[in-house]
């Protein structure tokens, strides 16, 4: 391992690190200066034998350090920090580094700490992201050859439901073509992953009914009007019934229906509205949060009245009537 990448101390943590940590950049395109940031946590068990796992958060556009801080990293941040001060970080008893060597990768360039010197690189997509991440892996294993023989897995959640299989496919193609170094790829994990427009799009209504978020009557009505397919409304009745479904669920926390929705007190963090008029906050999905995505497909545009409100503009009643 490159000693220059060794993390010798973590601000906020005063003990001895339970395993070695490394962090830094891998250049995936020299001519553009495209650099991907990684944070690597060696296993607290048997690093020489335990699997190596690449972790990817979704978005697209979200940093995998989300996973490090909030999900399965070696420290418990939430209990250790209050606004404005670094407190004592505690170890996370459920850190995934207990049983694996884990790489948190910020991908594509432009996300988290990853960057490019050529801003045209910030226009990208699934396939380029997979290709760059594959390049990253080949170079990373060249830097850390002692892990090459360990079983290797790729894991992620949400929009990484796209990143994981596309990257896994690149890895397998590389293995089949004899690309070196040869990765000891064994499999992959996907949590709440984006997969397919049809399956993902049709999932919401049965979910909302099963969870008791919409009534039996409304479920029967929407099912009858839409014929069980909710992505592309087949008629106006279907569209209006889907709108009713949306009204029933729109104030819930989309990421956990039983949790309250956190609202930032920082006014600078209020949502911006993109050129298209759609809110552009999309932590874990391709376009926007799911109900909006459903609306977008339903009507070809999203939530016409609410977008300006989110932009800080409250329309007058005549304006509403005009719309």
């Amino acid at each position: 391992a490159p000693q220059s990448a060794l993390v010798t101390q973590i601000p906020g943590f005063s003990g001895t690190l339970p395993s070695k940590h490394y962090a830094g950049y891998v250049t995936v395109d020299q001519s553009h200066g495209r650099n991907l940031f990684y944070y690597f946590v060696e296993s607290e068990g048997k690093p020489a034998e335990d699997p190596v796992v690449l972790w990817l958060n979704g978005g697209p556009g979200c940093s995998s350090l989300d996973g490090f801080v909030y999900e399965h990293g070696p420290f418990n941040f939430e209990k250790a920090m209050t606004k404005g001060s670094l407190l004592q970080l505690q170890l996370n008893p459920y850190s995934w580094s207990k049983v694996s060597n884990i790489i948190y990768l910020d991908s594509p360039a432009g996300v988290g700490f990853s960057y490019s010197k050529n801003e045209t690189d910030y226009e990208t997509g699934d396939l380029k992201t997979a290709s760059d991440s594959h390049t990253f892996l080949l170079k990373w294993f060249e830097l850390y050859p002692e892990f090459l023989s360990n079983p290797f897995f790729i894991a992620g959640e949400s929009y990484a439901g796209v990143y994981v299989p596309t990257l896994s496919s690149e890895v397998v193609k590389g293995i089949d073509a004899g690309v070196t170094p040869v990765l000891n790829f064994k499999g992959y994990l996907v949590g709440n992953g984006v997969t397919d427009d049809k399956f993902d799009g049709n999932a919401l209504v049965p979910f909302a009914h099963g969870m008791g978020l919409i009534s039996d009557d409304l479920y029967e009505e929407v099912n009858k009007a839409c014929g069980g397919s909710y992505i592309y409304p087949v008629n106006d009745t279907c569209g209006s019934k889907l709108e009713e479904v949306d009204k029933n669920i729109e104030d819930l926390n989309i990421y956990d229906i039983l949790e309250p929705c956190y609202h930032s007190t920082d006014s600078s963090k209020n949502r911006k509205v993109t050129k298209s008029g759609l809110p552009s906050s999309f932590r874990l999905l391709g376009e926007t949060e799911r109900p909006l995505a459903v609306r977008k497909r339903m009507f070809g545009r999203a939530w016409p009245l609410r977008a300006p409100v989110r932009d800080g503009i409250v329309p007058t009643w005549p304006e509403l009537m005009d719309n």
Binding site: G59, S63, G67, F77, G161, T166, G191, N192, L285
Partner: protein, 145 residues
Amino acid sequence: ESVPCINDEVATEWLNNESVRKAIHAETDFSWELCTSRIEFYHDSGSMIKYHMNLTAKGYRALIYSGDHDMCVPFTGSEAWTRSLGYKIVDEWRPWTSNGQVAGYTQGYENNLTFLTVKGSGHTVPEYKPREAFDLFSRFLAGKP
């Protein structure tokens, strides 16, 4: 930008702290954001079903898990597409346990494909259910049921 309903203050503050940046060898001339709008991103790979078919057919192991209280990518969709692959069921729908409690349900398919739910969890399973997530992760890596 803020992500709806998500409090990212701890991560934002820690990862934008100068001493942290220095310690983890991160560039210091731009700020860290949980999710960025700096990139223009195209979903240009279509459905993932064909990728899953190819990978599992080649013998690579796959675990598809779902926090069952997530409305962003609901488990109903993941359950449906994994079933749609048409693989033979080798482990019938059953509860799985963590710490002696039912932690969710699972169904195993041929070609080493497993679908699994995590009861009461939101979108980011290890955040909502760390112990259960650790159990499913470590058992999968170890090739245990």
